[in-house]
């Protein structure tokens, strides 16, 4: 033995140095793998919610909103979920780099793999309905998420001058084929829906919140071309909106609607 090796062995023995137990390294390695898998799953779930939001019907508004395509597209982006995908991809990348084989692959391949993995798993999650569940869970458990969702919805859909309107149905005139909507600010709108195919018959009820695509024809008048269910705002619907009770007080007739219309016009001119 050389003097140097004798010194090292002597130091090991004198200082009672011993190898760190194997379980310590295994635990550390497994921890990185578990965090990697968890971050890929969470990233995929975020991606699936993006697909869910994109498929909930608002993306095709881009065709409708001529002239403000970029600003409308920017308005529609689900920033929270995009950020969430990016963060989980970054966490996945960091964890991958800390695994024993992490250094063998170039960064671009790891990022690409993580991205494709998120798309693949995210599509599966979306297909089995998990995206809707996650979105719903976030809406019910995180007030700020719920609030921001509604703010974004209002910002996008409350643009009557661009032909977008969202509001609650407060009256239906089946004869004249007109609706009275109340928007979030409390303003009432008379919506002509004779040229409209309803997405769903269930929607044509008082108390339902609907999204209308069409044309503003006056201060409080709107001509509908399309009426959609407001996917993300049905929670706001007035559960106590009692059709029967309404019927008792005043019949849902053409005459009543016309009278109401006159009131509305009066209100509008006063404003």
């Amino acid at each position: 033995m050389t003097k140097f090796s004798e010194n090292i062995i002597g130091k090991i023995k004198n200082d009672c140095i011993s190898p760190v137990p194997k379980w310590h390294f295994l635990l550390k390695n497994y921890a990185f793998w578990v965090m990697l898998v968890v971050s890929v799953i969470l990233g995929s779930l975020s991606f699936s919610v993006i697909v869910h939001i994109a498929n909930s019907g608002d993306i095709d508004l881009l065709d409708h909103m001529h002239g403000s395509l970029i600003s409308s597209a920017v308005m529609m982006l689900p920033y929270f979920w995009l950020l969430s995908v990016a963060v989980f991809m970054l966490v996945a990348y960091c964890n991958w780099k800390h695994t024993k084989m992490g250094y063998r692959f170039k960064r671009r391949w790891i990022v690409l793999g993580s991205f494709l993995g998120s798309i693949f798993l995210g599509s599966i999650f979306y297909a089995i309905g998990m995206a809707k569940e996650v979105d719903g869970l976030m809406t019910t458990t995180i007030p700020i998420y719920n609030q921001s969702k509604h703010d974004a919805l209002r910002e996008l859909w409350f643009q009557p001058e661009k032909g977008l309107l969202v509001g609650k149905i407060i009256e239906i005139d089946e004869v004249e084929e007109k609706l009275v909507l109340r928007d979030e600010s409390g303003k009432k709108w008379i919506v002509d829906d004779r040229a409209v195919g309803w997405e769903n018959d269930e929607l044509e009820k008082r108390g339902k919140i609907i999204k209308v695509i069409g044309l503003q024809t006056g201060e409080a008048y709107f001509e509908a071309k399309e009426i959609r269910r407001c996917n993300n705002c049905q929670d706001d619907e007035d559960e106590d909106f009692d059709d029967e009770k309404w019927g008792k007080d005043e019949k849902n007739t053409h005459k009543n609607i016309i009278l109401k219309k006159e009131d509305l016009e009066k209100e509008a001119s006063e404003e």
């Binding site: 140097f4 010194n7 090292i8 062995i9 390294f25 024993k100 250094y103 063998r104 692959f105 170039k106």
Partner: protein, 205 residues
């Protein structure tokens, strides 16, 4: 009795590195054989990449062996033991020397003209070039290279490691190692050419 002991020692000495790792985990004395195998190589390697004083290099080398011993259970059987312990040395040099000095001092080691010869023959550089430059000049040129370039040149041409081993030591993808080596060779040759130009000018003056 003594004959049997010597025979046993001989058997241990003939074990592979990986076999010695297993044996060390049962008996720390077996670690002495591993130390003997790598003492010189690592000493030279640390000196080459750090350019530290002899004392600093020895301290670092001791740290390397103690650290390797503590982490023996983490030794990955997919790697060569030599790659694993070179990696520890590389990391120790980074944490030890680069804290002290932003730029290593002049590297003083033998066999630098070996690097020049290899680089010259690998890229058909002229024999004339080999004759022109002394080991000392090569040392100075190496010193001027970026640290990452210097280290890959040392590993590839002086430590004679292949791409896979360098990749395992530096913990970089093999493609990146290949790129680094190419760039390092290019930078090395550029420095050599500049050196030639300077010498020519000096001669004319």
């Amino acid at each position: 009795m003594e004959k049997e002991y010597l025979q046993e020692l001989n058997n241990v000495a003939e074990l592979s590195d990986e076999g010695l790792v297993k044996m060390t985990l049962e008996n720390p004395d077996a670690y002495g054989f591993l130390i003997e195998r790598y003492e010189e190589k690592l000493h030279r390697y640390i000196l080459r990449i750090s350019g530290g004083s002899r004392e600093d290099v020895e301290d670092t080398l001791q740290d390397v062996f103690i650290s390797a011993y503590k982490n023996l259970n983490d030794f990955d059987q997919d790697l060569k033991f030599s790659s694993w312990i070179y990696r520890i040395a590389h990391n120790k040099v980074i944490s030890h020397f680069r804290k002290i000095t932003a730029r290593p001092k002049t590297v003083t080691y033998e066999g630098d003209n070996q690097l020049l010869n290899i680089l010259a023959s690998s890229e058909d550089m002229t024999k004339e070039l080999e004759r022109k430059h002394t080991g000392e000049e090569v040392r100075l040129i190496l010193d001027e290279l970026d640290e990452r370039y210097r280290e890959v040149l040392v590993l590839k041409f002086l430590e004679e490691k292949d791409y896979k081993e360098i990749s395992d030591i530096l913990e970089k993808p093999m493609g990146t190692v290949a790129t680094l080596i190419n760039r390092a060779k290019k930078q090395f040759k550029e420095k050599i050419s500049k050196q030639d130009m300077k010498q020519n000018i000096l001669k004319k003056v």
